[in-house]
Subunit: 198 residues, 2 copies
């Protein structure tokens, strides 16, 4: 029985990183594939845990060699999922979790149409703006740009398997975990039916 | 706001016809698209209401151009769902419901990747067999063939948006209706976000 490929995505500021981290904390049987990026390491981040930090040249060489499952540029930096590993994990029957930007999530869906795409959305755009302002990483201009990007990304929402609102963090994590359980239980039910002798 | 394309499918004998009929009875805001046919118009029938009446050449040309969402032949005539009709309804903001065989459902997904594919499954294969035997339409040999087909169809289950078990009929209808409501409420939430001024 092949593993399930779960993709957690959503506009910047919806908290997909924090939600994903907590989901993985509570769910041992999910394997995460670590993304590669050319952006600078932030305080507290660990190479090979948060991301694989690579140079622009290295990243472009990986693209050229077809080693990226998906990649995107965001604010002038590359972000991508090295293909090596994801397929192997799935073939070993392991469920894989990817936490990626919407552009990348939709690329994954083209290569893995059976991937389960979860789309995190904010309770409102003003709340999304508040979160971006509060985390204080971007200028007012960059925030306005992120809001515009978020609107474009929201227009693609019907390409995802499920929409999950991140209003209350704890509730959101629980919804994601319940949804993963549901998909696993569906797969087990289907497997039982296929193997039933009649 | 575009309508949602719902597709209700499942192996033969899972009861998708009966479930779909009951869902449409209870849910006024779901539209069924007008099929095209090559059979002659009968007295009282209206072109564009009962069916779209087209010639055999036109129908086959539409198949060749990929303009048929799905089609079948019956008594030497073609019957099918033109893509254009479904698109028009969706663009008018109407939610469309199609009840089709799994092979057709997966064809629809290729043309409308954003379609919501609901896959009805039986509680067990022995129960599926019982239902096929009870409705008495097929020979023992045909039933064995349907069971084999069902297993192949079940192997494609991960291509569907959601798996719904049809054990108790009333419960199954309720699950389908709840799922449709959920998808509508998601769409409304996304629409609110896109149109929110910040």
């Amino acid at each position: 029985m092949k593993g399930i490929l779960f993709v957690l995505s959503g506009p910047s500021g919806t908290g997909k990183g924090t939600v994903c981290k907590e989901v993985l904390n509570r769910e041992d049987a999910l394997t995460i594939s670590i993304s590669a990026t050319t952006r600078e390491k932030r305080v507290g981040e660990v190479d090979g845990e948060t991301y694989h930090y690579v140079t622009k040249d290295d990243f472009e060489a990986m693209i050229d060699r077809g080693e990226m499952l998906e990649y995107a540029t965001y604010n002038g930096n590359y972000y991508g999922t090295p293909k090596a590993g994801v397929e192997t994990l799935l073939n070993e029957g392991k469920d894989v979790m990817l936490e990626i930007e919407p552009q990348g999530a939709l690329q994954v869906k083209k290569l893995f149409p059976e991937a389960v795409l979860m789309f995190l959305v904010p309770p409102s755009m003003s709340e999304l703006k508040n979160r971006l302002v509060t985390r204080g990483r971007e200028s007012a201009e960059e925030i306005a740009e992120r809001i515009n990007t978020a609107k474009w990304e929201l227009e693609q929402a019907d390409k995802y398997t499920v929409i999950i609102e991140n209003d209350d963090f704890e509730e959101c994590v629980k919804t994601v975990l319940d949804y993963i359980s549901q998909k696993r239980s569906d797969r087990a039910a289907i497997d039982r039916l296929i193997n039933e002798k009649v």
